[in-house]
Subunit: 283 residues, 2 copies
DNA sequence: ACCGCGGCTTTCATGAGGCGGAAGGGCCGC
DNA sequence: GCGGCCCTTCCGCCTCATGAAAGCCGCGGT
């Protein structure tokens, strides 16, 4: 009864699709394997509902069950994820160049693409002997908090930038850029120079440098980021190799400004996750 | 009316979770972007149901919508997929070694892990100048049809092998191994020699060589596969580098036989996707 | 211009099936 | 032995997902 009051009170109404998704959503980098009751608690679903859905997800291959009874994300999801157009294809094309870059710079390399207000690392190559930055393939960070993110933001549509600048910008270190005006100036400078350089923006003692990658219509579709321990290198030592890499990848993607071979119109992502009303809706 | 008869006739009853999953399931490597009505047709769901679910999935980030109205898998799924224990972690550890191997052999390199009756390529490095094999990261093939798959099968539990051998084994070329007895002999040979060598098994004119990778309790958890054009190299030229690579990765994963550093008990996948009744069930 | 068609969006009444409470069972550690 | 925790199963109520239908848009043919 009290429980029932609780539930209905806070508009805890979910559609059944949302229930399924909320189960998937409880997994993150810190929670790779969770038990039934942990999932139930974290998702806010009752035990029996969670139990039933977990079984359905497991049968489909979205989840697996370990010998200790805990659940994890299954390979079926990994398989699906590689079908994301910005993921699979872009990553596949870029990977050889990124490796060359890593070989040349001996630094952590990321390939980031925008998703909502965040940047997702579609690829992350860690140098064995450098700072352990918290960047994994599949990692998600706010656009304003990373070098790659700031590059992507700099080339995003004006209105999107303003929308993001108006939202709450989380601070990770004392040096994280969160002031809208400061950010606007920074982004303008990125557009002017074509490169973003930040220091201890997300993690203390880490310098990040990032440059844009362009696709078919010269639209910026991704960013290459490099992180090194602060003071271990000058940005100027990194930038030439990075712009070269970015240009190679851009050309391979068909960017005219990089010497595109053929203009083949392909997938282009437009609408992000936000609005419930789809683009074709009445105005 | 005829339509209604159709639907109810073939026990087309799905749970709502299954409906969500059946939508995700319509995407594959040949169908990266689909329109509402295509998804509706391929999933067997009515248009309005599909429409509603697509919106929910899009809001959550599981799908994105392109400017032409078509839907694709979203980065949120890619993000989730990297949380698969066999995927993210294994891949991250193995990648540097795989790259060294590619550098040495100049061939296509795969890292495969088992999922049900299939092998999933957790990583796939294509050599720029060699045969275009149909292997992408996230690709799924029957265990009996690829070099890596046969290695994984060879070290799988006896009962699992028999279950798989009893199922229908699809043939891809005239040389695909599909005869149970022939396969049994082949698998025994793989266990004896520790390497699988096949020719035109999945694709004509391609030779595949694969070796096992072992994890914590010396259990075979993955396989490294190499594909080269038939006749371009002798297996003996490839095998030493491959076993070296596999050993390095195995050691990094904590395999005792490869000189394990520490026995840290971690995730181990036990139950695959098949049975609806979970492992703890009554017997 | 007209019409038809295919694809997309929205609405709504209906009843199937998802839901959560509760009970039962197993496995700890105290 | 007992209490706590976790997992599993069952079942009746009632919500909410469902599919039909209608409306809209844009396209192409005649």
């Amino acid at each position: 009864m009290t429980v029932l009051a609780d539930r209905s009170a806070e508009s805890h109404r979910l559609t059944s699709a949302q229930r399924v998704l909320s189960i998937l959503g409880v997994f993150d980098a810190e929670n790779l394997a969770l038990s039934l009751s942990e999932i139930s608690r974290r998702s806010g679903l009752t035990l029996s509902t969670t139990h039933r859905l977990l079984n359905e997800l497991r049968c489909w291959g979205a989840l697996i069950r370990h010998s200790d009874g805990k659940y994890s994300i299954g390979l079926r999801i990994l398989e699906l994820g590689t079908l994301a157009p910005q993921g699979g294809r872009l990553r596949e094309i870029a990977l050889p160049y990124l490796h060359d870059l890593q070989h040349a710079l001996r630094a952590n390399i990321h390939l980031g693409v925008p998703d909502g207000h965040d940047v997702i690392y579609v690829e992350s190559l860690r140098a064995r002997d450098t700072v352990p930055v918290p960047s994994r393939q599949g990692g998600r960070w706010p656009l304003h908090a990373t070098g790659s993110g700031l590059v992507l933001l700099a080339y995003a549509p004006q209105e999107f930038q303003e929308e993001l600048l108006a939202s709450e910008l989380r601070s990770y270190t004392a040096k994280t850029l969160t002031d809208p005006d400061e950010l606007r100036r920074f982004l303008a400078e990125v557009r002017r120079s074509g490169v973003a350089v930040v220091e201890s923006q997300l993690t203390y003692g880490v310098m990040a440098v990032a440059v844009p990658i362009r696709g078919p219509r010269d639209k910026v579709v991704a960013a290459v980021g490099v992180t090194v321990p602060s003071g271990s290198a000058s940005p100027h030592a990194l930038i030439p190799a990075m712009t070269t890499t970015a240009r190679s990848i851009s050309r391979a993607l068909g960017a005219p400004s990089a010497g595109a071979p053929a203009p083949r119109p392909h997938w282009r992502v437009h609408e992000a996750t936000r609005p419930l009303t789809p683009p074709g809706a009445r105005r």
